[in-house]
Amino acid sequence: MSETANLLREMSERLFGEICDKSLLIAAEKGEWPAALWSAMEENGLTNALVPESAGGAGLGISDAFVALRVSASHAAPVPFAETLIAGWLASGAGLAVPSGPLTVAPVRTDETLQLEKRSGGWRLTGRAHRVPFARHATAIVVLAKAGDTPHVAVVDPGRCKIEHGHSLAVEPRDDVAFDCELGPGDVRAAASGVDVATLQAFGAAARAMQISGALARALEITVGYAQERVQFGKPIAKFQAIQHNLAMLAAHSAAANAAADMAAEAAERGMNRLVIAAAKTRCGEAAGVGAAIAHAAHGAIGFTQEHTLHFFTKRLWSWRDEFGKESDWSLELGRAAVAAGPAGLWPDIVAA
């Protein structure tokens, strides 16, 4: 791990460990915005990690920034950290000024497109984006839209959009946003070369893979701890072989998710290699499902309560695996690529991944 990554991990562990406690998570589920947490993240330079130094950001690489993202997920931080990182990257990449405050991106679903039309003195943005993370709390939505055939990036004030509230399984905001607004010439730029909606989806998938790895690591830790404390039949349940074997599988899937997420971060940094990210999101999504199920099984009824902290992590696992393409979406893409590569081309493709 790089020196920067190590420092970032330590700093993030401290930051999220101190602020992101159970009462904060409960308040967030009730709709409260964790302002103190967000300010601390901003003060420590986490939120603009992917904005170049020349544009006032921290200028980190994606792999390094994702170290902090993993830590945030291992504390179930109920903030649009991933979305703000991606929004900053997208806007600065297009040469747009990056607003301060929490940001989000749209569209987050591949089947949706937003349109930009040139108007005298500016642009008009139209279209609908569903389940946009944290739109209601964002100071700006960084949008990828088509002007004719070319992808453009626009910075949009959510106050000028129609926002309908919705939620993920983890009760994080996932809002439907209807765009129909005029934008000034300075709010829109052509996207950086090679960047389109597919890039946005891949970057989002890499981020979700990393978040899954963080939350799953925490679910493992909580479950191992619980199994060593809970006594039945006169001994800690961790002493039962059936429990040991299930937790071994949870640990194995968690380790695989970690490896896959690291791979996705590197791939994102190396020009957003789609197939590697596809593999990582597929693998992490599967680990999320298997891992959450084992964690709950080992906890018995207490883990099924609002009172216990496990659900903050498992609900995020269940929602993150669906977002920016689920396992079946990415497997389909990988499978088609394998078929196109054919029997002689598949192995070289796997090695190149």
């Binding site: 791990m1 291992s74 079946s328 796997i350 090695v351």
Partner: protein, 383 residues
């Protein structure tokens, strides 16, 4: 946190990719006449002639010191050769065990004399090894070994029976695991390893035919077999520590998730472009698992190179890898509509039959699923 750490693998370099191209060209040339069914045997398929050719290329003993006939290449370069041969289904079985685990053990625990004697022979592709661990009454519970070595004048006398010994019928040597002290302080002490010349009088090798009607493993009986003192590997009584280190080599490599790779390539060949979405999803999911396992396994190669002890990580790779191998058979059979048949002229059909018949062994050989999960659980501090 309770994480099992898999550090990022060493990166590919120009040297590894140049080597990869050489290996592919070699395999294209040398495997031209092989049938798909022969390729399906993978690292259990044996061809002494092929092993000698691999040695001529410098691809056995790649990472050892040159003084012992090695080639002082990196662990990653070695990994390239392993994975390329497995992906192609090359018949590497004859030298596989010696190169994978016997030689590393000799290098680590052997005397200078043993290193100079065995390692150059192994590297030349003319010296094959087998693993003498399992016994009729000692399988998963390896420490319960009953085979005994009794100190006698000038050496040891061995009595006992080993079983399931892969390749004993072609191996020149065995690394034997047995008891040297019958009243040890605890069950993990008082066991030792020996390098046994298979031609020693008193050794009988009997074939055991497996359910696919093949002869891969054997029973090996020791009756008053005399071994000189120089046959002892490592320290007397240190056998448990040594065998645990050997198993990290045995469990972490690409052979634990690529055994069924030829089935995937044959499935692609059979399907051609006629792949519906449902089938593409099945194939894509397998690829996702393979890519991830490959990263984890390369990460372990890096740890071994740095002298770390990745025993728990190796158990993770073997458990996830062999589960995938077995699952591949189960899911691919549903998307290509044939009935598995060993005798079929159709490549996929024959390879599917081979894999289906061999799949149960994937999670037995090298330590059962239950034993591996136990090792991971211990790594988590649960036992």
């Amino acid at each position: 946190m309770t994480q099992l750490n898999f550090s990022p693998p060493p990166p590919l370099t120009e040297a590894t990719e140049k080597l990869r191209a050489e290996v592919r060209a070699f395999l294209d040339r040398e495997m031209a006449g092989m049938t798909p069914a022969q390729r399906a045997a993978s690292w259990v398929g044996r061809s002494p002639e092929f092993s000698r050719k691999m040695a001529e290329q410098g691809w056995i003993g790649m990472a050892w010191p040159k003084t012992y006939g090695g080639h002082e290449r990196s662990a990653l370069e070695r990994y390239v050769v392993l994975e390329e041969t497995l992906a192609a289904g090359a018949p590497v079985g004859a030298h596989w065990i010696a190169d994978r685990q016997s030689a590393p053990s000799i290098l680590r625990f052997g005397t200078e004399e043993q290193r100079q004697f065995f390692l150059p022979k192994i590297a030349s592709g003319e010296c094959f090894f087998c693993i003498g661990m399992s016994e009729p009454d000692s399988g998963s519970d390896l420490a319960s070994t009953r085979t005994r070595a009794v100190a006698v004048d000038g050496g040891f006398k061995i009595n006992g029976t080993k079983v399931w010994t892969t390749g004993a019928h072609i191996a020149h040597y065995m690394i034997l695991f047995c008891r040297t002290d019958t009243k040890p302080a605890d069950r993990h002490s008082g066991v030792s390893q020996f390098i046994v010349d298979m031609k020693t009088p008193g050794i009988t090798v009997r074939p055991i035919i497996d359910l696919s009607n093949e002869h891969d493993f054997n029973e090996v009986v020791f009756e008053d077999v005399f071994l000189p003192e120089s046959a002892l590997l490592g320290k007397s009584g240190d056998g448990w520590k040594q065998v645990t280190s050997e198993l990290s080599y045995e469990r972490s490599g690409p052979d634990r998730f690529l055994s069924t790779f030829p089935l995937l390539t044959e499935a692609l060949a059979m399907l051609g472009n006629r792949v519906d979405d449902r089938s593409a999803i099945v194939i894509g999911r397998i690829v996702a698992h393979l890519v991830t396992l490959r990263r984890m396994s390369r990460s372990i190669a890096g740890m071994l190179q740095r002298g770390e002890d990745p025993a728990v990580q190796a158990a993770v790779v073997k458990e996830l890898g062999t589960s995938l191998e077995q699952e591949m058979v189960e899911v691919l059979r549903l998307i290509v509509d044939v009935e598995a048949d060993l005798g079929s002229d159709n490549a996929y059909t024959a390879v599917l039959a081979h894999m289906m018949l061999h799949a149960p062994s994937f999670s037995l050989r090298g330590g059962t699923r239950e034993i591996l999960r136990g090792i991971i659980a211990r790594g988590l501090g649960l036992r």
